[in-house]
């Protein structure tokens, strides 16, 4: 009921804005969304925050003469507010200097794919349903071992719809449900602490198996007790799904046209070149309904597309906004994300091609190495050369003669992405850890040389 009412309101206000824009001799694109969000955060095995929000926004980009634009995002959804905002944007769009490379709003015909991205049952959920899920995770995690000290984490469920309309006649509305969760479990033994972590998601609350995941996380937390200090140096390592997800966010970000035109990407001028190991293939796959970032349309009104980002280690495509594509003489493929009229490209539905080796086999193949389950505070150090740094967190395990023999205290790595992905093996188990921009579908990676540069005390 709430959803339907808000849908009508957002569509009515969007059409009102478009009418006013046309009266002012301008064009516009409008992205609107509404969602009921349930958000819960738990720590030390109890809920610290539990809340519900009715989130709604309208983002309007007004374009004058195909070359001048101004943008705004608002949740002040009164008719007076929208009209006043639209008039302000039209005034500003007429005043800003024209950008000769700006291609104007999308006018070409678009075929938007039909995707099922929602859980119809989500609309009838109550707060107690979310608490029940959290309780399952807490009870299951605590039952694994007496050394489990506390279960922490969070859960966000957003259920609503996204709406796009433009003055050139493009229009699409589609429902979405998105659930993401993190479980972080603390084991304690004689004052020594060990944590393990998992971030994952689903479109269906019924498919979100927090109980099973919590058990796995708890086992890893206990396994992490007794961590030893090891020397910083190069190691052969396995990056588990969540660590791979973090690494591939930085790889994807480096393919953003915004970084490329700002000369801030190590992938500048590398299209068609062998950048990584030939086993590495990465797609942007926005039509897979299981992918939590999937969508039929980007923020600029282009239909999203499946395309190769890397194929056999060769860089095949950047992800463009329409303006960047125009500047670079390329074609945008539905990867634009806008904020106040400024769009950047990003391969938001990253999906790795799986290998044919089981993770267990990868571990067996390592004589002297490490299993890294999670990376923390990863950041570019020098973006034009692809150097990054970060820490291991919540699970660093020592592998000797093909077996996990214990855990290690966390280490800092500082290395260059092209070097990290130069010699790799790819696991066969695909999984979708959560993360920035909706996360990605990834497989474990075995990396021949991974450079740890310093230690920490835990």
């Amino acid at each position: 009921m709430v959803l339907e009412k808000q849908k009508e309101l957002l569509m009515e206000l969007s059409e009102l804005a478009l009418r006013r824009v046309k009266e002012l001799s301008c064009e516009a694109i409008i992205n609107a969304s509404f969602a009921r969000e349930y958000a819960t955060r738990f720590s030390n095995s109890e809920i610290m925050q539990n809340y519900m929000d009715l989130r709604r926004t309208i983002e309007i980009t007004v374009v004058y003469n195909d070359k001048q634009r101004a943008g705004s995002i608002t949740n002040d959804l009164t008719k007076e507010g929208i009209i006043s905002l639209t008039e302000y944007l039209a005034k500003v769009a007429k005043l800003v200097p024209p950008d000769p490379m700006y291609p104007g709003i999308v006018k070409e015909e678009q075929k938007y794919p039909s995707l099922k991205l929602n859980d119809p049952k989500a609309a009838s959920l109550e707060p107690v349903d979310i608490v029940d899920k959290v309780e399952e995770a807490i009870v299951a995690g605590e039952a694994i071992d007496k050394k489990i000290h506390g279960v922490s984490g969070n859960l966000l469920l957003a259920d609503g719809f996204d709406y796009f309309i433009s003055s050139s006649g493009h229009e699409l509305i589609y429902p979405t449900t998105n659930i993401s969760t993190t479980i972080n479990i603390d084991a304690l033994d004689q004052g020594e602490e060990s944590r393990s972590n998992s971030t994952f998601g689903s479109r269906f609350l019924s498919k979100l198996d927090m109980e099973t995941e919590s058990k796995e996380v708890a086992k890893r937390a206990v396994q992490g007790l007794g961590a030893k200090s090891i020397e910083p140096r190069e190691y052969e390592v396995i990056l588990d799904h969540q660590a791979v997800g973090t690494l591939l966010f930085f790889v994807g970000y480096a393919t953003s046209s915004r970084l490329v035109i700002n000369r801030a990407s190590f992938l500048t001028d590398k299209i068609g070149q062998q950048v990584f190991d030939e086993k590495f293939t990465l797609m942007n796959d926005p039509h897979n309904p299981e992918h939590l970032a999937s969508r039929p349309i980007d923020d600029e009104g282009l239909a999203t597309q499946r395309f190769s980002v890397f194929e056999d280690g060769v860089l095949k495509n950047y992800s463009y906004s329409r303006l960047d594509a125009s500047r670079m003489g390329a074609k945008a493929m539905g990867t634009g994300f806008t904020f106040m009229g400024n769009a950047i490209g990003f391969p938001f539905a990253e999906t790795m091609k799986a290998g044919d080796i089981a993770k267990e086999q990868m571990i067996s193949d390592i004589k002297d190495g490490l299993l890294i389950t999670n990376l923390h505070y990863t950041n570019f150090v020098n973006p034009p050369v692809g150097s990054i740094t970060g820490m291991s967190k919540d699970g660093l395990f020592i592998i000797k003669d093909g077996e996990i023999v214990g855990s290690a205290k966390n280490m800092r790595f500082t290395d260059e992405i092209p070097r990290i992905l130069k010699e790799i093996e790819i696991g066969k188990e695909l999984r979708q850890p959560g993360g920035m921009m909706g996360g990605n579908i990834v497989a474990p990676l075995k990396i021949k040389n991974f450079r740890f540069t310093s230690q920490t005390q835990h």
Binding site: T74, I183, G341, Q457
Partner: protein, 480 residues
């Protein structure tokens, strides 16, 4: 808004809440950015709404909406109550809050000129001028960026104890940057914020700043060298010192992190509660880290926090010894303190207050060298690093690695040559233990809305930091 807030609180109490608060919060921005002479962003954003937080059966519940109309109060209060009732199902520790004075007040941060009233043409002209100054450096400059950003916040708050506050903030920020490519690809930028109006644009001085970043970008790309790996004396200017304070002193002293409430996202803290009041040595005796949101004009300045508690100046570290945590009403109560330190903040109406930094800085040394020139003259050998390029720190805030945009090698008390890609890596107590000299000159630098914390919704808070020019001994330096 007072009537609206009173109605929400009354409804919550009727539905069995033992505590209720209603927070109406607006956040408006006005942004203009230019890249290579073309406007990249020009527009405004607005987020407004209200949230009701209650305690029922000893548990928190919260609900919010963007529709600030009386007819929504019943639903929002009912939802908050339902959330609390659901939470109480698995409650272990009933929520208790510190007792705080009841306050009735209105406060507005002072400004001279409202940037939302300034014509777009004036803003574009300023950015164009800065762009042309950078462009004058020639073809070696490949990317020119200049921007200005203005933020207004509106905060109306009331709780069932009787506190009723209205507070408005206005802050302004500017950034100027250049990327030069010659022997190397290097970027230099300077961005600053203050709790002021459009008058801050003159104080930032786009023309001077654009000239500086362009010149230094050219130096970095053409003549700077990478430092060899070494342990040496390392001097930080107030901005980068501020970032180091933020990461290695600010976050570890947030009590919610210490209690494990941030474990699922940003991590915990090495500064465990057994270290409070036990003369825990955080750094050398010269280290005095002060939290002071009462300081006017600095970013993070506010008279009241978002739980309606009056903010205050206090030492986090005093003469090298850990002194106290940053707290809110719930966390302070949990460790037996009688009052919150006033560090609860939200970034939008639909978020729950978390323990956040505001203005945290290192006190200068009144006996130290006058300024950076005198400090360099006092340094036989070392490196002077300026402005943020990259940062990373572990989940307990111990092992950190930061890099600076530009650095200078110091030989025999003089600047010898420029350095690029300079990284410093240390552990927190070791680094602060090595602070041996600071200038009398100091300043606070606004880092902008840039500090992320919280899950599943991350909140981005505006903070400022700074202090003097400070020298640390035996710092691990390398390049990358």
């Amino acid at each position: 808004m007072d009537d609206f807030i009173a109605k929400a609180i009354e409804k919550a109490e009727l539905k069995g809440a033992s505590f209720a608060e209603c927070r109406i919060f607006g956040y408006e921005t006005d942004s203009t950015s230019m890249r290579n002479g073309q406007i990249e962003t020009c527009g405004r954003s607005k987020s407004i709404g209200y949230g009701v937080r209650v305690i029922k059966n000893g548990a928190w519940g919260f609900a919010s909406t963007a529709i600030v109309e009386e007819h929504t109060i019943e639903d929002i209060v009912s939802s908050a109550i339902k959330e609390a009732e659901a939470t109480s199902k698995i409650l272990k520790t009933p929520v208790e809050l510190t007792e705080e004075p009841i306050i009735k007040d209105k406060y507005f941060t002072p400004f001279v000129k409202d940037p939302f009233d300034v014509d777009i043409e004036e803003k574009v002209e300023i950015l164009k001028k800065a762009d042309s100054i950078i462009a004058e450096k020639g073809d070696v400059i490949k990317v020119r960026n200049n921007s200005m950003n203005f933020v207004k916040t509106y905060f109306d708050y009331g709780n069932s104890e009787g506190t009723l506050i209205s507070q408005q903030e206005l802050f302004s920020g500017c950034d100027s940057g250049a990327t030069a490519i010659a022997n190397d690809n290097q970027r230099r930028n300077i961005g600053l914020y203050e709790m002021r109006g459009f008058e801050f644009i003159d104080m930032f001085n786009f023309e001077k700043t654009a000239e500086r970043v362009a010149s230094e970008a050219v130096i970095l790309a053409t003549e700077a060298v990478a430092p060899k790996p070494q342990k040496t004396a390392f001097i930080l200017e107030p901005y980068q010192l501020g970032l180091t304070i933020h990461e290695s002193c600010g976050h570890p002293s947030e009590l919610d992190r210490v209690l494990g409430w941030e474990a699922d996202f940003a991590g915990t803290s090495f500064l465990t509660t057994d270290k409070l009041g036990k003369n825990y040595k955080y750094g050398s005796e010269k280290v005095n880290i002060v939290c002071d949101p009462t300081m006017p004009y600095v970013l993070g300045h506010e008279k009241y926090d978002h739980e309606g508690v009056k903010t205050q100046r206090f030492h986090v570290v005093k003469e090298g010894i850990f002194n106290d945590y940053q707290t809110d009403r719930q966390t302070a109560k949990l460790i037996g303190q009688s009052h919150s330190k006033g560090n609860a903040r939200i970034d939008r109406y639909n978020r729950i207050p978390l323990v956040r930094m505001s203005n945290l800085y290192l006190e200068a040394d009144p006996e130290g060298p006058k300024d950076i020139d005198e400090l360099i003259a006092e340094t036989k050998e070392g490196i002077y690093g300026l402005h943020w390029k990259s940062h990373s720190i572990d989940d307990k805030r111990v092992n950190f690695q930061f890099s600076v945009q530009i650095a200078y090698e110091i030989k025999n008390g003089e600047i010898a040559r420029p350095l690029k890609n300079t990284i410093y890596q240390a552990t927190t107590p070791e680094f602060w233990g090595s602070l041996d000299m600071m200038t009398k000159e100091w300043r606070i630098e606004g880092l902008g809305p840039s500090c992320g914390k919280g899950a599943p919704h991350m909140q981005i808070i505006w903070v400022s930091h700074g202090g003097p020019y400070a020298r640390f001994q035996g710092v691990n330096i390398f390049s990358g």
